[in-house]
């Protein structure tokens, strides 16, 4: 019984939160990695693109809620999501046409593009803050819990509860659907294959008659879609604040590089690696050991490797360790 309790404890405090957080990171990391492999630069504006898409979703959700449209147990934001995605795609394509295209044609070095993406980051950052403000926004509605901790205790008779929020399940399901669709697209369809070819060797791809403008456009469409979905899932799960979205860019970068930048599958798993490490290392295992160890050996301290304040620092440290020992990432990066 104690053993079961210990497992439930870990599931409740590490496994489910990490899966949830990891799936949000994974979507973002895939977006960053796609832009990196096709357009060949690290897009610092991605966090703010996420914020922009999510902002549109929130505005539409509020409108829907005020009219009285609801989705029953599911959050209303799901109806608004396509509109947010459209807005993010439009702004991405607009930014590409007006800004990034020039440097792509000139074949500027990656550093120039990083600087340009910084400029875009500032612009988007300001726009989002002017439109929706900097306050914390909650836009979740519908049924909050699929299973409450008390219900679980009653059903199983264990002393540890297992809570499952609907947003957690939603994040995971949506992420898996997105990932499966994306990998099917990249692996099986002609467009996806030409995208991979383009990222692998631009000149050869051009010689085989692949239209670069189309590839670039599709990349932005996918990246913007993923950004909005990831941002909305994160906002539903926690709350929306432009500032946190900018900060989330950093663990997303960490996930993309840990998985091997330019490799979507790597980015997908990188998101989970980062999330599990962040939560696993900062969790206090005291209760777990009380369950597992025989009586008399219980630890007196919290059994916590690092305090929760260092959550972000953990993902950054992982990144640095990976950069030192395996600069290409856990999965070999560079091509999709």
């Amino acid at each position: 019984m104690d053993f079961l309790n210990a497992i439930v404890l870990l599931a409740n405090y590490i496994f489910i939160p990490a899966l949830n957080y990891g799936s949000q990171l994974a979507l973002g990391a895939i977006g960053v990695t796609l832009i990196y492999s096709v357009l060949r630069f690290a897009n610092f504006a991605y966090g703010d693109l996420m914020a922009f898409g999510t902002m549109v979703v929130i505005l539409v959700t509020w409108k829907l809620q005020s009219v009285g449209i609801h989705l029953g147990p599911l959050p209303t934001a799901l109806i608004a999501l396509p509109i947010g995605v459209m807005a993010a795609i439009l702004i991405s394509l607009l930014l590409d046409k007006t800004i990034f295209e020039y440097y792509r044609i000139k074949k500027s070095p990656p550093v120039t593009l990083i600087v340009v993406s910084l400029g875009v980051m500032f612009v988007l950052n300001g726009i989002v803050r002017i439109i929706i403000g900097t306050a914390d926004r909650k836009f979740f509605d519908g049924q909050k819990f699929i299973m409450k901790a008390n219900e679980f205790k009653e059903i199983t008779g264990l002393s540890e509860g297992l809570a499952l929020k609907s947003t957690q399940l939603l994040s995971l399901v949506v992420t898996i659907i997105c990932a499966v669709l994306l990998f099917w697209f990249l692996g099986k369809t002609k467009t996806g294959k030409s995208m991979r070819a383009y990222s692998d060797n631009e000149d050869l791809a051009l010689l085989s008659g692949i239209d670069p403008n189309r590839i670039v456009m599709i990349t932005w469409v996918i990246a913007a879609t993923l950004a909005t979905i990831a941002g909305t899932l994160y906002g539903l799960d926690k709350s929306f604040k432009p500032f946190t979205y900018f900060n989330n860019l950093l663990p997303i970068f960490a996930a993309a590089i840990v998985g091997g930048i330019g490799n979507p599958l790597g980015a997908f798993f990188g998101g989970f690696v980062v999330a599990f490490a962040e939560i696993g290392i900062t969790y206090a295992y005291k209760k777990f050991f009380i369950y597992v160890l025989p009586q008399g050996l219980e630890p007196t301290s919290l059994m916590q490797l690092l305090s929760i304040d260092y959550k972000f620092a953990v993902s950054f440290s992982i990144l640095i360790i990976v950069l030192i020992f395996r600069p290409n990432g856990i999965f070999k990066g560079k091509i999709i």
């Binding site: 120039t112 990083i114 500032f122 950093l250 301290s301 620092a313 950054f316």
Partner: protein, 458 residues
């Protein structure tokens, strides 16, 4: 010659802008803008040395600024003996353990061949040490933080004049830059950008949460100053005399003694603020000028030529027998140290240390925009960038406010649109900065004052 004319032109325009703020808003505001411009100029010169001279992208600016701020606390605060006796020993032992851990890791990396076994041993050693360090430091940290937590709760500092902290800040930043450089400088430019950005995130997290060292989110306030305090000035006879002499015409117009005294009192109060800021401005100007002279000397020295050669063609420089790796590390350390110096100056000027305020947008990316706007590789350019960007950053809000009021004049104050626009005013500067940077990158990618290399025979 043209270069010199451009520089003089640009800086006179800048000076006029600041003076006009003094005339239209107040001299206090103008001087605080000037002081922060000077501090920004120090930071931009630091970034320019690594980016402009050597092409090393350093997005860890925020971390080095925070280290400079930490130095200000560690150097200038009075030591708290109670806290030292409560937990000083534990902290010292923990620091010793960290050093030991680094040495052991280095030893393992050197002694054992690259293998799975080595990785496992390393992981075990590191986890063991982390647990050990936590065991040792935990009670001490708790003891230190419970010493008068409302006002102290940290080890305090050395109690030295705060001006020393500028150099200590440079040393702190330089030491950390050495470690970062050893780890990350071999990376490609975009990886390096991300890696330094994330490492600076780690540094700020440490500063923010190690309360025994820096009081963390509880902030350190009321730090020492290298300049006189307003309160003391207002009581000092020589200062009151000076003000009454300066304003003798105005004072002579009033005949009533008590009214005269009230006016004098007001004048002294406002002048004391200006005087303190002038003192700071003088100090900071000395720093900027000295740094500028040193940086210019370095730029046109054989060493500067070598750095440009490395930047423009690494392989060729290597073929000429230059040690590229060593020079990259060296210049990264120098640049970061100057940024750390600026960070300590900033905390000195503010008089308080607030770790929460260290945000990448303000302290990494804004500084970078300054360098890029001014012209990377050109020291005058980076100073100009620091001045201009900081000026716009501060003055954007009042100017935007003015225009909003002008265009929404016919609307009532309670109108939703007007309220919304006014709430958005502080963020207009973000968008403005972004657009400015984008326009500049497109039409003048070398910055306002581009790099000009003096040729030997011209």
């Amino acid at each position: 010659m043209r270069q010199n004319k451009d520089v003089i032109m640009a800086f006179s325009v800048m000076g006029l802008l600041i003076i006009s703020v003094g005339l239209f808003q107040s001299w206090g505001v103008a001087l605080s803008i000037l002081n922060l411009c000077l501090i920004s100029a120090v930071m931009t010169m630091g970034v320019n040395i690594s980016w402009g001279y050597a092409g090393i992208i350093n997005f860890g600016v925020m971390g080095f600024i925070a280290l400079g701020g930490l130095a200000a606390v560690v150097v200038s605060e009075e030591p708290i003996y109670e806290a030292w006796s409560a937990g000083g020993l534990g902290i010292l032992i923990s620091i010793g353990l960290i050093v030991l851990l680094v040495l052991i890791t280095k030893y393992i990396l050197r002694a054992l061949p690259k293998s799975k076994k080595r990785n496992i041993i390393l992981t075990v050693v590191i986890i063991f040490f982390i647990i050990l360090i936590k065991k040792v430091s935990g009670p001490s940290i708790e003891a230190i933080e419970s010493v008068n937590p409302a006002k102290q709760g940290f080890l305090g500092g050395l109690g030295l004049p705060i001006i020393f902290s500028w150099f200590v800040g440079g040393i702190f930043a330089g030491l950390v830059a050495f470690v970062i450089g050893k780890i990350a400088l071999g990376l490609r430019s975009d990886y390096l950008a991300i890696a330094t950005l994330l490492i600076s995130g780690i540094i700020v997290t440490v500063v923010k949460h190690e309360d025994w060292l820096s009081r963390g989110v509880k902030n350190v306030i009321g730090m020492k100053r290298p300049a006189p305090y307003e309160i003391d000035l207002q009581k000092a006879d020589w200062f009151i005399n000076m003000i009454s002499n300066l304003n003798s015409k105005k004072l002579d117009l009033i005949t009533d003694i008590s009214e005269k005294n009230i006016l004098l009192r007001d004048l002294v109060i406002s002048a004391s603020g200006v005087f303190v800021k002038l003192c700071f401005a003088g100090l900071f100007s000395i720093v900027v000028v000295v740094l500028l002279i040193l940086a210019q000397k370095a730029l046109y020295s054989p060493w500067g030529r070598m750095m440009r050669a490395i930047r423009d063609n690494e392989e060729a420089a290597q073929a000429m027998g230059k040690n590229v790796v060593k020079q990259h590390l060296f210049i990264f350390i120098i640049g970061s140290a100057i940024v750390g110096f600026g960070g300590a100056m900033l905390v000195t000027y503010d008089g308080l240390f607030t770790p929460v305020s260290y945000q990448p947008l303000r302290y990494t990316f804004l500084i970078w925009i300054m360098v890029l706007v001014g012209g990377s590789g050109n020291n005058y350019g980076s100073i100009l960038g620091g001045f201009l960007v900081w000026f716009i950053w501060i003055e954007a809000a009042p100017v935007a406010m003015f225009f909003i009021n002008m265009f929404t004049n016919h609307l009532e104050d309670t109108h939703e649109l007007k309220k919304h626009l006014i709430n958005g005013v502080p963020y207009i500067r973000y968008t403005m900065m972004g657009i400015g940077l984008l326009v500049l990158m497109r039409y003048r990618p070398k910055g306002l004052l581009p790099e000009k290399i003096k040729l030997q025979n011209s």
